[in-house]
């Protein structure tokens, strides 16, 4: 046999590595509730062969895919089922995003507009007539409430405190993402608190754009690519200074680490290893003995950890939960790993609302049974979904660590 011929014992075409075992379909949260969705195996590797024949074999119902990637986690043969589906949507979908999709996708732009009038926006977005208009005209489901916008962004707060951060001898760079910036700067401040206690100053990227996850999901991948290139250029500079780039959102992290190269064709190989979730970085530093964390003795909390889909895909759940387990006063209950149904902007669309809630029902029921003080998860959109659907508060593990941290003692130990 010729030297190069068939020696890999593995097709170079990822979709051909599928052995049709169908386990991905078993794990697909959409297939479980939506008979019209052909499921990941069929939408991905099966249909890919037909799509090579002609565009008529692109099935528009692929838009029902949440991009949760649970299919990829389930696959025993390393088929990037979710990527195949997303790539097909990027390539073949003839659906042009309307105003609603553009608004949901441009978290950055909408956030800038909204936070300037935050009290008004927050008030207005909760009014029944406004919700009725959003539902009827825009197609944003009336059950949804937009996360409250903060009057001051995290970036504004940071600029006021930038000088303090420069006093440290060691630094990390923080990619805060849209949510921590526009909606919930407290999460970002919590990270700064922990880092400072550990003896690290926090830098921001020279230029930060929205990671683009919502743009990809809403058919605006070109814009996502442009923003991704900006982020990568800034991260390269941070990495060149020897600083890790930390995040507090699992979805942003996953998008920038994996979707950039798999779906957008952005070369992120030089940055990928330095880009990590803050919980993972902290856990590893503690494990390596390079950092020490001290916690308040009077801290008591019962939390139920929800495994966000992209955390599953990253395989990083043990880092976040491992970090939480270091807190002596914390009782941690693991919820069974299931999708909560929101999938970023997916659940906001009125055509998806019902499906979204059906998908999440298992998670909601478990939370009610466990009755924790709060749920913890690394994803902000899971937080909105769970808070709306269960009434239980949701916190990022970083916020819980910050709350439980004995700052003085930690500072002393890391001095």
């Amino acid at each position: 046999m010729a030297d190069e011929t068939q020696i890999e014992s593995k097709s170079a075409f990822n979709f051909e590595q599928c052995l049709k075992c169908s386990i991905c379909t078993v794990y697909c949260p959409v297939s479980a509730v939506e008979p019209d969705y052909p499921g990941p195996k069929q939408s991905g590797p099966d249909n890919e062969r037909y799509r090579l024949k002609g565009m008529e074999f692109f099935n528009e119902s692929l838009k029902l895919c949440l991009n949760c990637k649970r299919c990829e986690v389930a696959c025993p043969h390393d088929v990037k089922v979710g990527d195949i589906i997303q790539a097909a949507r990027i390539r073949y979908s003839t659906h042009t995003p309307g105003l609603r999709d553009r608004m949901l996708a441009n978290t950055d732009f909408v956030g800038t507009l909204a936070h300037n009038f935050a009290p008004l926006t927050n008030f207005a977005l909760r009014l029944a007539p406004v919700k009725a208009v959003l539902h009827g005209v825009m197609g944003i489901d009336r059950h949804r409430t937009f996360p409250a916008y903060s009057f001051h962004t995290f970036e504004q707060w940071y600029r006021r405190h930038e000088a303090e951060q420069q006093r440290f001898g060691r630094f990390v760079t923080y990619f805060h993402g849209c949510y921590a910036n526009y909606n919930y700067p407290q999460l970002a401040k919590d990270l700064v608190k922990i880092m400072n206690a550990c003896g690290y100053g926090v830098h921001l990227l020279e230029k930060e754009k929205c990671c683009g996850v919502a743009l990809i999901a809403n058919g605006l991948s070109k814009q996502a690519r442009r923003q991704g290139e900006v982020n990568m250029a800034s991260m390269r500079k941070a990495v060149a200074k020897g600083e890790p780039v930390l995040t507090t959102s699992s979805t942003c992290t996953f998008t920038m680490r994996d979707e950039y190269s798999h779906l957008l064709g952005i070369d992120n190989g030089d940055v990928r290893d330095s880009l990590t979730l803050a919980t993972r970085w902290l856990y590893r530093m503690v494990e390596d003995g390079q950092l020490k964390l001290a916690f308040r003795r009077d801290f008591k909390m019962k939390t139920a950890y929800h495994s966000a889909c992209h955390m599953e895909r990253l395989g990083w759940i043990p880092y976040s939960t491992g970090l939480l387990k270091m807190i002596p006063g914390l009782e941690l209950v693991m919820l069974e790993s299931q999708c909560c149904g929101i999938a970023g902007t997916y659940g906001f669309k009125k055509e998806n609302y019902e499906r979204s809630q059906k998908i999440g029902s298992g998670v909601f029921r478990q939370i009610e049974e466990v009755a924790p003080d709060c749920v913890s998860t690394d994803c902000e959109t899971c937080k909105w979904q769970i808070e709306m659907s269960t009434g239980c508060g949701v916190k990022n593990p970083i916020s819980i660590v910050a709350e439980a941290l004995d700052v003085e003692e930690t500072r002393r130990m890391n001095a």
């Binding site: 010729a2 590595q17 069929q42 099966d46 062969r49 037909y50």
Partner: protein, 545 residues
């Protein structure tokens, strides 16, 4: 087939390949009462074991101008009358650095002389048109090659023959002739399921049995000196190429890569084999090796593409009557009037030729039959669309939902006949074969209209089991649906299932490495381990034909 067989026919056509089906159609369209008989399933011989290439004729332009002009003529006809079987891909003849570029000029001149459009294009243009092509090519010619599905083509001919009053018996083998006063007056048939034999009388018998025609002729005591030439091909897991890719050189082994439906096929080898092997051909490791080595030169991606299976067919090569040694073998159409040649009236043989010149062969045979029977009717097969091809099916927009996707897949297989497929309920829309998108409704349609009684019939009529998993998921579902709609006995269905899986494994075995082997192991675990199929069927297990 639960069919009432007449005592006497005008014509019995022996052989359910494309030539037999086409001849049955032509005879029936000219008002003759026809019986088509086939010893196993339709398309079980060379018809179902070739490239699926609708030659432009370019391949033969230099070496065999007569075949070349036959090809281009039939190529243009089939695009019209069999549009649902044809994928108008166009083809490239590429010159690689190791080939002589000077051949290109001879090639193009010969093509044009035969009436084949041949446009020289730049290597850049060739790479743009066909991104899978070997990028190191130094020359390319674009020709009107296309791909054609021989299973559909045969089925469509059979359906039309039936519409014109023809009867058909599959799994019925001609085991003798009824000869009276030196004249063939019928055939003796054996039901290959039950072993029963019986006679059917007819005024004429057409031997259209391909390579088996040699043996059929012998039954009548006449000699047709044929040489079985085995050709092996490989099926890859998906369409690597969108156009047919050929080498621009004198025809040789493994120099055509054809995109067929959802797969692509590289072939062929060519080796003389003996008659005792032709019912049980096996692809050898050496053949697989040659096909891969040469195929990779056409499209380098083949080196890293999953191979689904290997299969082999037999070309019916006929030696000239004055050359019994077979040294000067013709690949052209051979029509033998045994009355003139051997003094045996009532029997003619139509053989040689190519799958894609079947219509012309059928016309020649039917013209002769009509002359013998004193029927004066013109041949209309060149202008009458086959069932399914009456008009083009619309496409060009994406599917809104899975049902629409299934409809597109079915239109690709059945053309306008797709409207006969029930998609009215969740049950009928449910998929039997996920790789090739075959629904329960399509299986019902195949049982009702396409002469399907077992799984291998179903595979050839619908592509069920021809996809990536090679029957892993669909075979048992298909067997179940057949029990319901074709009222197959469950016990018989188990044996059918075992024979079907054995046939799938036979093809996968020569290429069983990597993902193909993994798939086969999973399949074996399901069917042998989980379902205990081997234990159920014991030593009776056969390879489905």
């Amino acid at each position: 087939m639960d069919m009432d067989i007449l005592k006497e026919y005008d014509v019995v056509v022996v052989g359910g390949g494309i030539t037999g089906a086409g001849t049955a159609r032509d005879c029936a369209m000219r008002g003759l009462k026809v019986l088509l008989v086939e010893k196993y399933d339709l398309t079980n011989g060379a018809t179902g074991r070739n490239h699926g290439l609708l030659h432009s004729g370019a391949r033969y332009a230099v070496t065999d101008p007569e075949s070349a002009s036959e090809c281009i003529k039939e190529n243009m006809i089939l695009r019209k009358i069999a549009r649902h079987c044809v994928d108008e891909t166009d083809g490239l003849f590429i010159t690689l650095p190791e080939d002589d570029l000077a051949y290109q000029a001879t090639f193009v001149a010969s093509c044009r002389k035969a009436g084949i459009r041949a446009d020289i294009i730049s290597p850049e243009e060739a790479r743009r048109l066909e991104p899978a092509v070997n990028p190191s090519l130094i020359g390319a010619v674009r020709v009107p090659d296309a791909s054609v599905d021989p299973f559909r083509l045969t089925t469509a001919n059979v359906i039309d023959a039936r519409r014109h009053g023809a009867d058909m018996l599959t799994y019925h083998e001609a085991v003798g002739f009824v000869v009276e006063s030196g004249c063939v007056r019928g055939v003796r048939l054996r039901d290959n399921h039950t072993g029963d034999t019986f006679e059917v009388r007819s005024r004429m018998v057409v031997n259209a049995a391909g390579i088996w025609g040699h043996l059929v002729a012998r039954l009548a005591g006449v000699t047709v000196n044929m040489f079985p030439a085995k050709g092996t091909l490989l099926v890859f897991g998906h369409r690597v190429n969108g156009m047919v890719v050929n080498r621009c050189r004198r025809p040789a082994n493994a120099d055509i890569l054809v995109p067929d439906d959802t797969v692509c096929v590289i072939g062929t080898t060519s080796d003389r084999v003996s008659f005792d092997t032709i019912d049980h051909l096996k692809a050898t490791p050496e053949e697989v090796d040659v096909l891969l080595r040469e195929g990779e030169k056409l499209a380098p991606a083949l080196a890293k593409t999953r191979i689904l299976r290997a299969y082999a067919g037999v070309r019916p090569l006929v030696a000239a009557d004055n050359d019994p040694s077979g040294r000067s073998i013709s690949r052209g159409i051979v029509l033998l009037d045994h009355e003139m040649r051997d003094g045996l009236a009532g029997l003619i043989t139509i053989t040689g030729g190519k799958m894609m010149t079947y219509r012309m062969m059928a016309q020649l045979a039917t013209d002769l039959v009509c002359r013998k029977l004193g029927v004066d009717k013109p041949c209309l097969t060149a202008v009458t669309p086959l069932p399914g091809s009456e008009k083009p099916v619309a496409a060009g927009h994406t599917s809104r939902r899975a049902t629409e996707y299934s409809t597109h897949a079915q239109e690709g297989r059945h053309g306008t006949m797709t409207r006969l497929i029930d998609a009215g309920s969740v049950e009928t829309r449910a998929l039997v074969c996920e790789c090739e998108d075959v629904t329960v409704g399509e299986v019902k349609f195949a049982v009702d209209k396409l002469h399907v009684r077992n799984l291998i019939n179903l595979r050839r009529r619908t592509r069920m089991g021809m996809g990536t998993c090679q029957g892993e998921l669909c075979a048992c579902r298909g067997a179940n649906v057949l029990c319901q709609v074709a009222r197959t006995e469950p016990r018989a269905a188990e044996h059918d299932l075992a024979a079907f899986m054995a046939e799938r494994w036979k093809g996968a075995r020569p290429v069983a490495w990597g993902d193909t082997l993994g798939e086969a192991q999973l399949t074996a675990t399901i069917y042998e381990g989980l379902c205990g199929l081997n234990r159920l069927c014991g030593d009776d297990k056969k390879i489905a034909l």
